[in-house]
C-alpha cells in the first residue's frame, strides 16, 4: 500500500513541480464557459469563412485582399484605432499620475473623468453631431469669437469618429490606468527621490516600468475597442469613404450582401490583425518585470 501511495504522491509531486496542481481547477469555470459557448460557434464561423459558394476555400479571403477598396479598410481602421488607443492611454497616464495623492475633490474629479463611459455610442454620436456640427455650439463659438469664417468640418469625417472614440475610450483607459497605478507602492518613488531622481526620472524609471504591464493590457483593450468601431464610424463618420472601417466591410458583406463566408473571412482577418498588434504589445510586455509592485504588500 505504501508503495502505491508512493507512486501516486510522486506523480502529484512531479506534476506540481511543473506547475500542475489542484489550483488550476480555478480555471475550470472560465474554461468550460469559453469552450462551450465560444469555441464551437467560433470555429463554425471560421469554417464558414472557408466555404464560400464558389471559388474554393480561400476565395473569400482572396476577394477581400484582391480588392483595393476592401483591403483599404485595414489601413483605414488601423489609422483610426492606433492613434486613438495611443492617445487614450497616453493621456490617461499623466492625468492618473497627477491624481495619485490625496487631495480635496479627488473623488469628484475621478467620477467626472469616468462618467463619459456611460454615454454610449448613440449619445456620443448625437452629441458630436449637435455640438461639432456646422451650426453647433462649437462652431458658433469659434465664429462668434472670430477665429474662423467658415464652420470647421468636424463631423462626418475622420475627426468625428476620432472624437467619439476618444470620448468613449478615454475614461475606460483612465479608469484602468488609475487603478493599476494605485497598486504601486509610493515608497518606491520616495526611495527614488532620495537618490536624486526628479519627478520625470522617477516617473520614467520607476513608475512607468512598474505600470507597464497594466498599460499594455489597457492599450490592448482600448485598441480592440477602437479597432472594432462600428456605429460611430457610420453615425458620425463617412462610412463610404474616410471612415470605412473594416467592420463596415464585414457588415456590408454579412448583412447587406448576405455573404456570410465573406463576412466571416473579413472578421477573421480583423481578428488576426488585432492579434498581431496585441501579440506585439504583449510580447513586449513579457519582456518586462511583472510581479509584486510592493503596493499591497
Amino acid at each position: 500500500m505504501a508503495a502505491v501511495t508512493h507512486g501516486r504522491v510522486a506523480l502529484r509531486h512531479r506534476l506540481a513541480e511543473r506547475g500542475i496542481d489542484r489550483q488550476l481547477l480555478l480555471l475550470g469555470p472560465a474554461l468550460l464557459f469559453v469552450a462551450t459557448l465560444f469555441v464551437y460557434p467560433f470555429f463554425y464561423g471560421i469554417g464558414l469563412s472557408f466555404q464560400p459558394e464558389q471559388g474554393g476555400p480561400f476565395a473569400a479571403y482572396r476577394s477581400f485582399f484582391s480588392d483595393a477598396y476592401e483591403r483599404g479598410t485595414l489601413t483605414t481602421t488601423l489609422g483610426l484605432s492606433l492613434p486613438v488607443a495611443l492617445l487614450n492611454v497616453g493621456a490617461s497616464v499623466p492625468i492618473a499620475y497627477r491624481m495619485r495623492g490625496r487631495f480635496r475633490g479627488k473623488r469628484l474629479l475621478t467620477t467626472l473623468l469616468v462618467v463619459p463611459i456611460t454615454l454610449g455610442t448613440v449619445l456620443t454620436a448625437q452629441g458630436l453631431l449637435n455640438f461639432l456640427g456646422p451650426t453647433g455650439w462649437f462652431n458658433r463659438t469659434l465664429m462668434a469669437a472670430g477665429l474662423v469664417d467658415e464652420p470647421l468640418r468636424l463631423t462626418h469625417n475622420y475627426w468625428g469618429v476620432f472624437f467619439s472614440l476618444v470620448i468613449t475610450g478615454f475614461p475606460f483607459a483612465f479608469l484602468l490606468v488609475l487603478s493599476y497605478l494605485s497598486g504601486i507602492d509610493p515608497t518606491l518613488e520616495k526611495a527614488a527621490a532620495t537618490l536624486g531622481a526628479g519627478w520625470a526620472q522617477r516617473f520614467r524609471r520607476i513608475t512607468l516600468p512598474l505600470l507597464a504591464p497594466g498599460l499594455a493590457t489597457t492599450f490592448c483593450l482600448t485598441f480592440v475597442l477602437a479597432f472594432s468601431v462600428f456605429p460611430s464610424a457610420v453615425l458620425v463618420g463617412d462610412p463610404a469613404g474616410e471612415t470605412r472601417v473594416i467592420s463596415i466591410a464585414a457588415w456590408h458583406a454579412g448583412y447587406e450582401q448576405y455573404d456570410y463566408p465573406k463576412a466571416s473571412a473579413i472578421a477573421v482577418v480583423m481578428g488576426l490583425v488585432e492579434l498581431a498588434v496585441i501579440a506585439a504589445v504583449l510580447g513586449w510586455r513579457s519582456l518586462l518585470y511583472t510581479g509584486s509592485t510592493g503596493g499591497k504588500g
Binding site: 507602492d185 526611495a191 536624486g196 510581479g291
Partner: protein
C-alpha cells in the same frame, strides 16, 4: 553640496491625533555620526523621514547652514537613505538598484560601473548582482539597500535600522565598513537602531527618543553611565528597576529601601528624603557577593561565556543578573551592588 551644520528646530510631526515626533531640536555638525535610539514606535523613522523630506513637517524648521531645508524637495537635498523596509525597486536587478542614484547624477558609465561594483563588493553581493530583489533573502535585500545609499557618497546619510536582518558576524563587519566609509568620505550620518550596543559603539552622539520626545542627547559614555531619567536607564540596559523610598541622602549618595532591600546608590536629579524613587541597576552590575542580600535562582539562560540569571529575593522582588559563574535553578545566592552602579531616579519624571 556639503554643509557645516544641520539644524532641526522644533521639528514636529503628527499623524491624525497621534504625536509621532514632538519638538525635536538638534544640531548636527558636519562629519558627526548621530544615532537615534528608542523603543519601537518612538518616532525614529518619522524623524529620519522628516529630515529626508519624505514627510512634511507639522511644525518646525530644518536649516542647512543658512538655507531653509524643510521646503526643499527630497531629490534636491542630496541625502542618501536606507529605508527600514528597504524599498528596493522590484523591477531592477541588484546592480541596477545600486546604480540608480549614480545614473541620476549622470556620471560616466565607466565610473558608474566601477562604483556600483565596489558598493556591491562592500556588501558581499557579487554573486547576487544580477538577481531581482524578489529573489534575495531578507538580509541580502537589506544589504542592497545599504549599498544603494552609500554608493552616492551623499553629504548626509540616513540609515533606518540598516543591519537588523544581518547575522552577528556580518553585522560587525558592516558596522566597521559603515564607520570606515563615514570617516573616509567625511560623511555625516544619522543612524537609527534599536540596538544599544550598536549605537554605543558606532555613534559620536546618541539621541534617545520616547513617545516622540527627546529624552537625552549625549555621547555614548554619558548615556551609558549617566542616563538622564529612568526611561533612558531602562532603555540603556538597567534591566532591574526597583520602586523604593529614599531614607537618607548625603551629597549624591542616597540610601534607599523597599521590597525587603536596603541599598546605597547614586542620585540622578532631584531626589529627596522620603521620596518614592526608582533604583536601577544593570544585570552585569549585580554581583554574587558573600555580604549581599539573599535570593533564590529561578531561571538560568545560557549565553555563551556568561549566563543570564533570574533570581527572586525573599520579599518576592525579581532581579536579573549576568555572571560567569553557573548557578543552578533553586540555588540560594547572595547579591551585592556597587553604590556607583545603582542609580536612583525620581519616580514620576516624563
Amino acid at each position: 553640496m556639503t554643509f557645516k551644520q544641520l539644524r532641526l528646530e522644533g521639528v514636529t510631526r503628527r499623524f491624525g491625533g497621534h504625536d509621532a515626533l514632538v519638538d525635536l531640536d538638534l544640531t548636527i555638525e558636519r562629519g558627526e555620526f548621530i544615532a537615534l535610539l528608542g523603543p519601537s514606535g518612538c518616532g525614529k523613522s518619522t524623524a529620519l523621514n522628516c529630515l529626508a523630506g519624505l514627510l512634511p513637517l507639522t511644525a518646525g524648521r530644518i536649516w542647512q547652514d543658512d538655507t531653509r531645508l524643510d521646503t526643499l524637495l527630497p531629490e534636491k537635498r542630496g541625502f542618501g537613505m536606507v529605508f527600514q523596509n528597504y524599498a528596493l525597486f522590484p523591477h531592477l536587478t541588484v546592480a541596477k538598484n545600486v546604480a540608480f542614484g549614480l545614473q541620476m547624477r549622470r556620471l560616466p558609465s565607466a565610473e558608474i560601473r566601477r562604483r556600483t561594483d565596489e558598493a556591491i563588493a562592500l556588501v558581499h553581493l557579487e554573486e547576487q548582482a544580477r538577481k531581482l530583489p524578489g529573489q534575495l533573502s531578507g538580509g541580502q535585500q537589506q544589504r542592497v539597500a545599504i549599498a544603494r545609499a552609500v554608493v552616492l557618497e551623499p553629504s548626509l546619510v540616513l540609515m533606518d535600522e540598516p543591519l537588523s536582518n544581518l547575522d552577528a558576524k556580518l553585522r560587525l563587519e558592516m558596522r566597521t565598513e559603515i564607520r570606515r566609509l563615514h570617516q573616509a568620505l567625511g560623511l555625516t550620518t544619522v543612524y537609527v537602531t534599536h540596538d544599544q550596543e550598536e549605537a554605543l559603539s558606532m555613534a559620536d552622539r546618541l539621541v534617545v527618543l520616547r513617545n516622540g520626545r527627546v529624552q537625552q542627547v549625549g555621547t555614548p559614555e554619558q548615556l551609558h553611565t549617566q542616563p538622564a531619567n529612568r526611561h533612558v536607564a531602562d532603555f540603556m540596559g538597567f534591566r532591574n528597576l526597583l520602586p523604593m523610598t529614599v531614607t537618607a541622602r548625603t551629597g549624591d549618595e542616597v540610601r534607599v529601601e523597599g521590597g525587603g532591600l536596603a541599598l546605597t546608590g547614586t542620585a540622578v536629579g532631584a531626589v529627596r528624603d522620603g521620596d518614592a524613587v526608582v533604583a536601577g541597576v544593570r544585570p552585569e552590575s549585580l554581583r554574587l557577593a558573600e555580604d549581599g542580600f539573599p535570593a533564590t535562582v529561578e531561571v538560568v539562560e545560557y549565553q555563551g561565556r556568561e549566563v543570564a540569571v533570574e533570581v527572586v529575593t525573599d520579599a518576592g522582588q525579581r532581579l536579573h543578573l549576568r555572571t560567569a559563574d553557573r548557578p543552578a535553578p533553586g540555588d540560594q545566592v547572595r547579591l551585592g551592588v556597587d553604590p556607583a552602579a545603582l542609580l536612583v531616579f525620581p519616580q514620576g519624571d516624563a
